[in-house]
Structures are given as structure tokens and as C-alpha cells.
């Protein structure tokens, strides 16, 4: 046979395997590097990384004033409570895994916990359903004593390692007598967290419901107490018209006011936030609020095993592609 190929030295001499030229070919190095990268992938598939995780317990005000409609989702006007639910469900989807969310409700002068913080990825459905089911009809008593409720929430959570997020419009009903304000000094700074002001600054009417839970117009001025009549008045008795220490400690004048309308009591909530050491944030848009809750102030750095196989795999992919992209042809033409 060799006789037919007189000019071809290749076929007459057996070519050496593992010739030194193998090591001059860039393709060899690329493949070798790709294999090395894959080995590295198996040696170190995960990496310890500190990731921020969050632990929040949301206490939602479910008193009547939270039914006031002054938010919009898209074009649909929604109540404050509905917007709170919408924002919370949005936040739930955004929080990184290993974060935890607990839920509680506030009405009257107390808060109750529905559940302690649950991990958000495993428990997404459970938390989401529970959030969707929050309803003003769950209120076990009337009244809206925000400061007492806040104090009660702080007491509930002071032993638990969680951030309190107290969501309210700040409307005390009946109005609070400034003489008997809650005293937060014992709990100030004990529980980290945030008071979230819900509602618009413009006073809007509060929807009323009948005994069957059907909408029944709005509260009128004579449906609600317009001033506090509890205890002693904080004013100088001489200045109160018709004052009688026993029978009319607040005077005999008809109280007029706008307590049947509801607006976000921002300055009051800011005072409460100062007194409790919580920060204050107004809920204007769900997205901005979700970002505020993912601030480093509330984050805890947790060491997680993060999957880093993609790094090595991308290197291997790149190297392997270098072998097969038509670089060689170009080089050959150039020669």
C-alpha cells in the first residue's frame, strides 16, 4: 500500500501519539481546563455566604377605621386593610428564603398572635392564605386603643427574637384623654421594628356594617364618641363650660368633632415611634415599603450554603466552547 502514496510521509511513518504538538494546541488546554473546572465543581459545590434574612412579626390593626377606602390597587379603590394585605402578600414573595414572618392582629387594646414567625419559602402558601383571610370581622372587641395595643404588642414580643411591624392608621377610638397616655418607658428600645402609618392624610368616612356584616352606609358624627369622657379632664376645670367635678368632669357642652371620619394620624404615630424606639414609615406604595423592610437595619446576616456550581460550570462551558467555535479555521486561513 505505501507504494501508492509516495509523497505522504505521514502514512509511511506511524505518527507518534502524545506528540509534543498536542501540547501546543490551544484546544487541548481548553479541554483540560474545562475538566479541571468540573473537578473543582465537585470539590466545592457550595460556598458559605452571609445573606441577609429577616424576621418580622406583623401586627395588623383590624379596627373599623381600617375599612376606610383611601388606597388604590390599579384603578380599583380598596380599603386600608386590603392594601395592607396586598402589600404584605407582595412582600412575602420578595423576602429571601430563611426569612420568617409571624402574624398578629390588633383590636380593642390588645394584640393576639396568630402564628409565630414561619419560614417564608416552605410556608409560603400557609402565610399567604392566612394573610388573605385577615378580616375586620375577626375583631373580638370594638374600640381602637392604638397606644395600648402597641404597648401590648411590645410586651408580647419582647421575649421573642423578632422585629415588630405595627400597621395602623393611628386613629384612637374613642379619643384618648391626654392625661392617661400609655407609658412606654419600660419597653423603649427593647423590641426593634417599625410603626407603619396606613391611610391617607385626607379624612374619609368609615364604612359601617350591619349585624349580618353587609355594608350599611358610613358612620355619622353622632355614631361615635367625639371626645374622651374617661377619668378627669386634662384641662383647667375653670375653663370647662358647665364643669361639675362629679357629674360633668368634661363640661356639659355637646362635643363636636370629626371622629367619625378617619385620616392617618401621622404626627401621633411619630410620637409613638419616638416613645417606643421604633422607626416610622408611611405606607404609600407597596413596593417602596417592601424595599424599606429589606433595609440592613432589620437584616440579620445568616451564613448559608450557597450553591456556587454555576461558577465552575460556566468556566467549563466557556472553555469547551472555545474548542468548537471556528477559531481554528480563521487561523488557518490567515496562515
Amino acid at each position: 500500500m505505501p507504494a501508492f502514496y509516495p509523497h505522504n510521509t505521514l502514512l509511511t511513518d506511524k505518527p507518534p501519539m502524545f506528540s509534543s504538538k498536542t501540547y501546543q494546541d490551544y484546544r487541548f488546554f481548553c479541554l483540560a481546563f474545562a475538566v479541571l473546572a468540573m473537578l473543582a465543581l465537585w470539590v466545592r459545590p457550595t460556598q458559605d455566604q452571609a445573606r441577609p434574612v429577616y424576621n418580622y412579626t406583623f401586627i395588623i390593626d383590624i379596627t373599623r377605621s381600617m375599612n376606610a377606602t383611601d388606597y388604590k390597587i390599579g384603578d380599583q379603590p380598596v380599603s386600608r386593610l386590603q392594601y395592607v394585605q396586598y402589600s404584605l402578600r407582595g412582600l412575602l414573595a420578595k423576602l429571601p428564603c430563611q426569612s420568617k414572618i409571624g402574624l398578629g392582629l390588633f383590636t380593642e387594646r390588645r394584640a393576639t398572635l396568630l402564628f409565630e414567625p414561619i419560614e417564608v419559602c416552605q410556608g409560603f402558601n400557609e402565610i399567604d392564605t392566612a394573610l388573605a383571610k385577615v378580616d375586620w370581622r375577626m375583631a373580638w372587641a370594638a374600640d381602637s386603643r392604638i397606644a395600648s395595643g402597641l404597648l401590648n404588642s411590645l410586651t408580647l414580643l419582647q421575649q421573642r427574637d423578632t422585629n415588630l411591624v405595627f400597621m395602623t392608621d393611628g386613629q384612637e377610638a374613642p379619643p384618648v384623654n391626654p392625661r392617661y397616655r400609655s407609658d412606654f418607658s419600660a419597653l423603649k428600645g427593647k423590641v426593634p421594628g417599625m410603626i407603619v402609618g396606613v391611610g391617607g392624610l385626607q379624612a374619609v368616612p368609615i364604612p359601617k356594617f350591619n349585624t349580618r356584616g353587609e355594608p350599611d352606609g358610613f358612620y355619622r358624627a353622632d355614631d361615635v364618641p367625639q371626645r374622651s369622657t374617661f377619668g378627669e379632664a386634662d384641662l383647667n376645670p375653670e375653663k370647662i363650660p358647665g364643669y361639675n367635678a362629679r357629674n360633668a368632669p368634661f363640661g356639659d357642652a355637646t362635643a363636636v368633632g370629626n371622629e367619625h371620619l378617619s385620616a392617618l394620624q401621622e404626627s401621633y404615630l411619630q410620637d409613638l415611634s419616638l416613645a417606643t424606639g421604633l422607626s416610622y414609615q408611611r405606607l404609600t406604595s407597596a413596593d417602596a415599603w417592601a424595599d424599606a423592610l429589606q433595609s440592613p437595619t432589620f437584616a440579620k446576616q445568616q451564613r448559608l450554603h450557597v450553591d456556587v456550581r454555576w461558577q465552575a460550570a460556566s468556566v467549563a462551558l466557556f472553555c469547551c466552547l472555545l474548542v468548537y467555535v471556528p477559531l481554528g479555521k480563521m487561523r488557518l486561513k490567515a496562515v
Binding site: Y5, H7, N8, L10, P15, P16, M17, F18, S19, K21, T22, D25, R27, F28, L31, A32, A34, V35, M38, L39, G104, L105, R110, A111, T112, L113, L114, F115, E116, P117, I118, E119, Q122, N125, E126, I127, T129, A130, K133, V134, D135, R137, M138, A139, W140, A141, L156, R309, A313, A316, L317, C320, L321, V323, Y324, V325, P326, G328, K329, L332
Partner: protein, 326 residues
Amino acid sequence: MSLAFTTPWLLAGLGLALLPLTNPGIRPTPYAWLEMLPADPLSGLIAAALRLCAVLALTALILGLAGLHRTEQSRERIGHGANIVLLLDRSNSMGNTFAGKAPDGSEESKATAARRLLSDFSQQRPHDLFGIAAYSTAPLFVLPLTANKPALQAAINATATPALAYTHVSKGLAMALDFFAQPNLTGSRIVLLVSDGAAAIDPDSELRLRQYFKQQQIRLYWLFLRTANSPGIFDLPQEARDDNAQAMPERHLHLFFSSLGIPYQAYQAENPDAMRQAIADINRLEHAPLHYRERIPQQDLSGLCYLWATGLLALLLSAKFCEAQR
């Protein structure tokens, strides 16, 4: 079996995996006259196999990077399981001991005992779905039916917070029944009412409750935590005029449940031990075999992809070592 990707847009890179079909990835060796080379089917086969290996290696890498996984599956199994809704009384009196006093450290409150025993109960029943509703004056929705035991524990733990106002059992029952108002819920449906008191049920809701209980085929267990010296559910009236729901709500709630025509069992526990007994009894009773769907969690397949890629790349590298050069 359904497959999915975490970052599907990376699949666009699959086009690159076809590159080896256009380019052999071998340094071209100049020959004087190609037609002089004889056709060699074996060589052709090896060349094609090497290209295929390269295509597969690239594909495996891209699939791995895109995060190939099998989505969460469920498979039908026969075992012991049930859908259990715990309906918990959050009225003020649950915070007291069985003796009716505030807990002083030596004796636990009814709520604490209930919490401890219920969390044991839920741990003992791995295949059950549990839901939690609570009630005092108004019903509170806590957790939907779920197999997520840590979440369940978190909700049971939360009942450690001080109790609320009064006992309005009919609203609570209505909410508990609402848990079962979902289609394709298989398995027995159980409501476990844990309370230390009862209340009259108004005629309006009575009618509706009767209807719901029947429709949903509920099995009802009432764990009544009786405080010392308080009326029990099996007490008989001393005078006929006391025999009404206002005077003896416990007895009348029991009569109401008995008249529903559904499987119903009442337990009157006067101490934590009796309560443990009752829960053990329910645990034993609810062991009828039933069909349930077992969840098979999402399974990551990118590791498998990387394994294939490693093997194929190693093969390509070893082929590179065998390359004849001039």
C-alpha cells in the same frame, strides 16, 4: 414527571451546543491530496461519536446552568391520614388552670396543657393535614390545612399569648367547617374542638351548622376541658326549668352535637392526664386506612447534568491525548 428550569432564558444557549457539528474541534492537519486517503468507516464513526460527545457535554452544562429540576410531584398512597382542623378556644378562662386559678408555676394552665398535647399529637401523625382556627368572640383564621409541621408548631406556640374575650362557639364552628369547603380534598374530615366552655348557639346558625356538618361529612371530637366546680357536659339538670341552653350551655352543646347525626365523640378532661388520654384515644380511633397524596418535593437534576458533563469532557480530553499530530 414534569421538568422545569430555574433560569429558563439560559436555554437560549442550547444553540451553541450545536457548534461541534460544524467544527470538529481538532487541529486541522494539512494533507497534500485528500482523495488519496481511503474511506474508513471506523474513523468516521469515532469522529461522529466525538462530535456527539461534545454536543452532549455542552447540552448538559447548559441544562445544569439553567437549573434543571423535577417539579414537586405527588403520588397516591394508601396509609393512615386525615384532614384535621383544630378549633381552639381562645377565651380568657383558657389561661387558668384546671382548678380555675391563675397558673402559679406548680400547675400549668389549660391553654399550656392543650398546646403541649396538641403539638405532640400533630407530631405523631405525619401524614395528616392540620388546619387551625381559633375563636373567642369572633373566629380567627390561623392556618389553612397544611402538612408543614414547623408552621403548625409556630401557630400552636402562638396560643401561648394571653387569651382574648368571650366564647362564641357557633362562629368558630362555621369557620372550621369552611376549611373543608374545597374540592378534591380526600380523606376523612375531622374537627377537633378544644374548649373549656360552651355557649348557646342561636337558632339561625344552628340550622346552617346542621346542614354544613351533614354536607361535609365531618367527624367531630369535642375535648372539653372542665374546670373544677363548673358544669360538665354530661351533667343532668336538677330542675327541669334549668334545662335550657342559656343555663346549661355545655350540656346543650353536647346534645346539639349528638343530634347532628355525624360521628361524634365528646371527652371531658378534668386534668392534663385525662386530656392526654382523650387525645391518645382520638389518635387510635382515627387510624382508618385512607387514600392520600404524598408530596415528593422538587428534585434538583442539575447535579446529574454536571456529572454527565464531567464524564463527557473527560472523555473528550482523553481523545485529545490520542490525537495524532505531525
